[in-house]
């Protein structure tokens, strides 16, 4: 199942912390699309996700100061 989390306007660590929380509620195999506008988040979320054991499927710049990350929950 695909979930979406919009953290536009948020800076670190709020964007990462909110992503962490949301991932907790997902079932293994679920995907989460995170939408944000803060440059550092494009580096922080993937680094955190990999360390936590999740899959980073895609990090994409979608526009002027706008990004999307697609994660897949791989561990409980």
């Amino acid at each position: 199942m695909l979930h979406t989390l919009d953290v536009k306007g948020e800076v670190c660590p709020y964007s990462t912390v909110k992503t962490k929380k949301k991932m907790k509620d997902l079932a293994i195999g679920d995907q989460l699309k995170v939408i944000f506008d803060y440059p550092l988040t494009a580096e922080e979320i993937p680094r955190w996700a990999e360390k936590a054991g999740h899959k980073v499927i895609e990090v994409k710049k979608t526009g002027d100061a706008e990004w999307e990350i697609l994660l897949e929950k791989a561990v409980a």
Partner: protein
């Protein structure tokens, strides 16, 4: 020629702006923020930005001391106001968590168009002005009095002075130990901006350049972001201080960051959707400005510009900034 430079207003404006624009550009490219650096160690066990800071520190230590030895600038050691440094550093470290950025992080994000950071700057400037030339200056005077100041042989203490060793031996030990740690450190992953070695190297060189460039057109002070933030408010409101290199350097930072962000397609006016967040950031700014006036400088001034002179007081400030940061990160994000 050098003497006429000292008198030249245009040279001061240009050298200040050039230093600031280069610094702001680099901060944005490297996403260099000490709140990020210290916080991520605790919150995500990530050392990337901290590694950039350590590399910048090593390069500035070597560069600044070479310049001192070649007579290009004079060695200036920050006083060891143990109480003010500890209290100010600790409060500053807590403030940057609320503000969502340290002094350098906040100023470069202004250039990216983050409205929350602009609010931080406002709070910072107001309280720094109150605590340095306003009604709150008695606190700083009390905390920084002689009774709470430690000197060794009538001088402000340095690392090498404390150990009683030659400056270059101490530097060699520091560079070797931290250098080995950096070489074995993690590579950059998922980098969109500059990698940490590039960011650290350029920041370090700019700290050295800042000392030199400020010395050409006035008193050598190097890159500093706290007192200058206060000056940008106090000059238009009450007419002091006289415009100086540091004020133009500071104006250059958001400008350089904007140029960098614009080129990367990362510049846009934006901010948190919850109104309470702005209040929190304003409060963070107030805390930072007040605290930096107690500790004798922000994270850049104490943590790089003056720590590069191996001043013991600066080391104390940056250690307390880290402690304050970790306290608040734990309190806000890790408690449950």
């Amino acid at each position: 020629m050098l003497e006429s430079l000292q008198e030249s207003f245009a040279a001061m404006v240009i050298l200040g702006l050039v230093t600031g624009v280069a610094f702001g550009f680099t901060l944005q490219r490297g996403r260099f923020c000490m709140n990020t650096a210290f916080r991520d160690i605790l919150l995500t066990k990530d050392f990337t930005t901290f590694q950039a800071y350590i590399l910048a520190l090593l390069i500035s230590i070597v560069g600044v001391n070479l310049m001192v030895d070649f007579g290009l600038i004079e060695s200036e050691i920050k006083p060891f106001n143990w109480l003010a440094n500890a209290a100010g550093g600790y409060l500053f470290g807590m403030g940057i968590v609320f503000a969502g950025g340290c002094a350098s992080g906040t100023w470069y994000r202004v250039g990216e168009g983050l409205v929350g950071s602009m609010v931080v700057v406002l709070g910072f400037a107001i309280s720094a002005m109150a605590a340095s030339i306003g009604k709150l200056d008695f606190i700083r005077k009390y905390l920084r009095q002689e009774d709470f100041t430690i000197q060794i042989n009538d001088q402000a203490p340095t690392l090498h002075g404390l150990i009683g060793a030659n400056k270059w031996i101490v530097i060699a030990v520091i560079v070797t130990a931290l250098g080995i740690w950096l070489i074995r450190a993690q590579r950059s992953a998922h980098q969109k901006g500059w990698t940490w070695p590039v960011t650290g190297a350029v920041i370090g060189l700019l700290i050295v350049f800042g000392w030199w460039s400020s010395s050409l057109v006035g008193k050598a002070e190097g890159i500093t972001l706290a007192s200058t933030t206060a000056s940008l408010l106090s000059y238009p409101t009450v007419g002091i201080p006289k415009p100086n290199w540091g004020m133009f350097m500071l104006l250059g930072i958001p400008l350089g960051a904007f140029i960098s962000a614009r080129l990367l397609g990362e510049a846009k006016l934006r901010g948190p959707s919850e109104p309470s967040r702005y209040l929190k950031q304003f409060g963070g700014g107030l805390l930072m400005g007040f605290a930096a006036m107690q500790s004798g400088g922000c994270n850049i001034n104490q943590g790089l510009t003056n720590l590069s002179m191996l001043s013991l007081g600066s080391l104390e400030v940056i250690l307390f900034i880290i402690l304050g940061n970790w306290t608040m990160v734990w309190f806000l994000f890790l408690r449950d």
